[in-house]
Amino acid sequence: MLDVKMTKRLKHFDLDIAFNCAPGELTAVIGPSGAGKTTLVRLLAGLERPDGGGITFGNTVWADVEKRVFLPARKRDLGLVFQDYTLFPHLTIRKNVAFAASNEDRVDELMTMFGIRHLESSRPSDISGGERQRAAFCQALARDPVLLLLDEPFSALDVANRRNLRSCLKELKNELHIPILHVTHDLDEALFLGDTILAVESGRIAPNWLKEQQAIQRRLAVSGLAREEGAAVSRAEEPRPVERALLGCG
């Protein structure tokens, strides 16, 4: 169980968030750009320190400002996927995935699952963006993390890849049984994936923001302006079986 209650002074506002996330639960974090979503991920990852409050994971305290406790990133045993791949450019795909892996079988398993087994000996610069993100997922999952943090992992991908990986993630969620935090600016993605939706605006949780967004969407749908969009959204929920076989995740 991930327990978060912390504050951090940022440039234009203060981040002040409290929530928790249970194993097997996916919390989607959504909000406008500059709302502090990425900072939240970095704080959870241990790449930055909070100014107040703290983070606990199960029985372990990851950060506690009052008690001056701070567990650095490398000791938190988590998986992190950025928006742009951050695979190590000097290693092959297999070496990247296996970098922090618990065992070789898991590496094989994940790479097969994500359909990139055939790219084992390639370098990150040789493969496509979609393939790189799959590799990044494998890398993060290979060490059997206790928490998965995703910072807009699909934003840089094309529509087909995005749809495919979304479904992948939904299925994986049940299999992994760990808390997952998924940051996105795409409302539909958040609605599709999230068991809980956390709307963040100017560093704070904005419960009304979500309702406002959904109202706007409904109005657009009704006025017919977003008919195409709406159709695309419903289609995005389930990728076509043919595509799924080609991209190989499931």
């Binding site: 241990g46 790449l47 650095p72 450019p89 000097h90 970098f99």
Partner: protein, 218 residues
């Protein structure tokens, strides 16, 4: 023609080239990634040998490496030999003199590194030291190679500093640049010409290699 000065120059240049990364890497890392008080001071100290006139630097080293100097005294206590006027002495001088020429390109290479790579490594459980050897270094090999080759070429031409602390001992500290100077002084122009003619192709080849490495990195 006496090949000893040329061999000595080559020996000095190769040793400098091999040892300089060990000194330059921590300095460059501190300057590229560190955030501490006195960072600009460290930067100035490391760059100093580049802007000092070689004879000034040479004289300073002579005093420090001499038997009454801090370094020289320590050396004599430990080994019983004198540091100044020895090959080790001119090698040390060469390392100090060449340090800024290695630190600058290496630092530039490190600063170009995507910080997310380092964060990724940290999240995946790597310690800072492991990160340096497994992630940072392999991604700056181009910068490291360029720095090493530059230092090699620079060491071949070193004169002022070596003159001051070397004592021009044939076979030990009389490197090619000093031997050529002495040949000219003694009006042995043929000798001077022959030694120069041997050095020039080497420098040229080194420059070609540097250009090739830089082109590949671009």
């Amino acid at each position: 023609m006496d090949w000893t000065p040329l061999i000595l120059s080559a020996k000095l240049a190769i040793w400098t080239m091999l040892l300089i990364p060990i000194l330059a890497s921590p300095m460059a890392s501190l300057l590229a990634f560190g955030r501490f008080k006195g960072k600009s001071l460290l930067d100035a100290v490391v760059t100093l040998p580049m802007v000092m006139p070689p004879t000034v630097l040479g004289f300073a080293l002579l005093v420090v490496m001499g038997p009454r100097g801090y370094l020289g005294g320590l050396w004599e206590d430990v080994t019983g030999d004198r540091l100044v006027f020895s090959f080790t002495g001119i090698l040390l001088a060469s390392l100090i003199f060449n340090l800024p020429f290695a630190v600058q390109p290496l630092r530039a290479s490190l600063e170009k590194l995507d910080p997310r790579l380092l964060e990724s490594a940290a999240v995946l459980g790597l310690s800072p030291l492991s990160t340096f050897f497994r992630i940072v270094l392999p991604n700056c090999l181009g910068g490291l190679a360029a720095a090493s080759i530059l230092v090699f070429a620079h060491s071949l031409g070193e004169f002022g500093v070596i003159l001051m602390v070397g004592g021009s001992i044939p076979g030990q500290t009389q490197v090619a640049s000093v031997a050529i100077f002495e040949a000219v002084e003694a009006l042995r122009f043929d000798d001077a010409f022959r030694m120069s003619a041997a050095l020039i192709p080497v420098c040229f080849a080194v420059l070609l290699i540097i250009n090739k490495i830089n082109a590949r990195r671009a």
